[in-house]
């Protein structure tokens, strides 16, 4: 009779793209075999590698619950949060490939320099701008709030921007995340700087570089309809903002 209450473990092979800027000329792939349970996530696998096999493995993670957006990485060729990717959803008869997100300068192992990403984010002025100082609360109807609800969900993990083939080529394109951040305020009825943001995005490296490949929408761990948001910004530069 099989023992009751026993949770079975199995071996998962991770192939991680390693890079140490102090010793390596080029990144290389390294295999790790890890004992895991079907309830584990890819992040748990990386923890086990770091804590039990190779302490030099470097990656970012903070909350480990899909909110902070620190651990976006390329898992089996797709941009995912390691903390939201369950082992049971992957085909573990094959190795699990883990590498850093593409298009941003690689610093070490799974860590990239996020500064170009945040520079584009800052450029679209992602904050509420209002000149009036009302005496009472600034009222917004549920319908007006719903207009930009989807784009409030962004956690700035960069999974979308680093899945975009246009961003990969030269990194000059603002990228999906910055446009999502702009969308969040362009369609906010309380904001007064929509036109400024539209002028910023109505440029050579702005929304017109979007080729609607939907990579960003597929990559978003928050399920934001990013390509749709970009299209709405394109539409707004042509026919004005409809809030």
């Amino acid at each position: 009779m099989p023992e009751l209450g026993v949770v079975h473990s199995f071996t998962v092979t991770f192939i991680v793209r390693r890079f140490n800027p102090e010793t390596d000329q080029e990144p290389y792939w390294q295999d790790f075999d890890v004992e895991m349970y079907s309830t584990d996530r890819v992040l748990d696998g990386l923890h086990k590698i770091k804590w039990e096999q190779d302490g030099s493995l470097s990656f970012r993670r903070s909350c480990a619950h899909g909110i902070c957006g620190s651990d976006a990485m390329r898992i089996n060729g797709r941009n995912r949060l390691a903390c939201k990717t369950l082992i049971k959803d992957l085909d573990i008869t094959k190795p699990v490939y883990v590498e850093a997100i593409k298009g941003l300068p690689l610093e070490k192992d799974l860590i990239v320099d996020m500064e170009p990403f945040f520079a584009a984010y800052r450029e679209v002025q992602p904050f509420l701008q209002s000149t009036s100082k009302p005496d009472k609360e600034n009222i917004q109807s549920p319908e007006q709030r719903a207009r930009f609800d989807d784009t409030t969900k962004c956690i700035l993990c960069a999974a979308c921007t680093t899945s975009c083939p246009v961003f990969w080529t030269d990194g000059q394109y603002f990228g999906p995340a910055a446009i999502v951040a702009a969308h969040r305020f362009i369609f906010d009825s309380r904001d007064e700087a929509s036109q400024v943001r539209l002028d910023i995005l109505n440029s050579k490296e702005g929304v017109w570089r979007c080729r609607t490949t939907f990579n960003c929408t597929e990559a978003c761990p928050r399920g934001i309809e990013i390509t749709k948001a970009i299209s709405e910004v394109k539409q707004a530069t042509i026919s004005g903002v409809r809030r």
């Binding site: 080529t169 002028d199 109505n202 050579k204 017109w208 570089r209 080729r211």
Partner: protein
């Protein structure tokens, strides 16, 4: 609002010309390849006959301009997306402008000036439907 931003105009042009091109191309294919004997009916006389009609002249010239500009603008976008070296990119974009302009000028010239039976040509070079001269 920078209304005349080039990339914005190009984006709108691609959508508008795309819709028009669908109608033009399918009309072109139907008339040339399916009606009245289909593809076997196409010969020099068929083309000369069509280009003698002002309706088909303007139809063909619209198709020519829209298709070439639509296509070359698409190529411009591909070049800008994938060619990273500035020198190569400039060379390719310049080649694109020159070849497109040449094709548009030559095509327009042919559509409006085609004379299937030029006066004074040797009769063995003229198509059979030309009045013997």
């Amino acid at each position: 609002m920078k209304l005349f931003r080039f990339d914005r105009l190009a984006w709108i042009f691609m959508r508008v010309s795309g819709f028009i091109l669908i109608a033009l191309i399918f009309t072109h294919l139907t008339v040339n390849l399916m009606q009245d004997g289909g593809v076997k009916a196409i010969d020099f006389a068929f083309v000369a006959g069509k280009l003698a009609n002002p309706f088909w002249q303007w139809f063909d010239v619209t198709l020519l301009w829209l298709a070439l500009i639509h296509g070359s603008n698409g190529m411009r976008v591909v070049v800008n997306d994938y060619v990273e070296r500035t020198g190569v990119r400039r060379f390719l974009l310049a080649s694109l402008v020159i070849s497109t302009t040449t094709l548009i000028v030559l095509g327009t010239l042919v559509i409006f000036t085609l004379d299937p039976c030029p006066v004074g040509s040797p009769s063995d070079l003229l198509p059979s439907f030309c009045p013997a001269g």
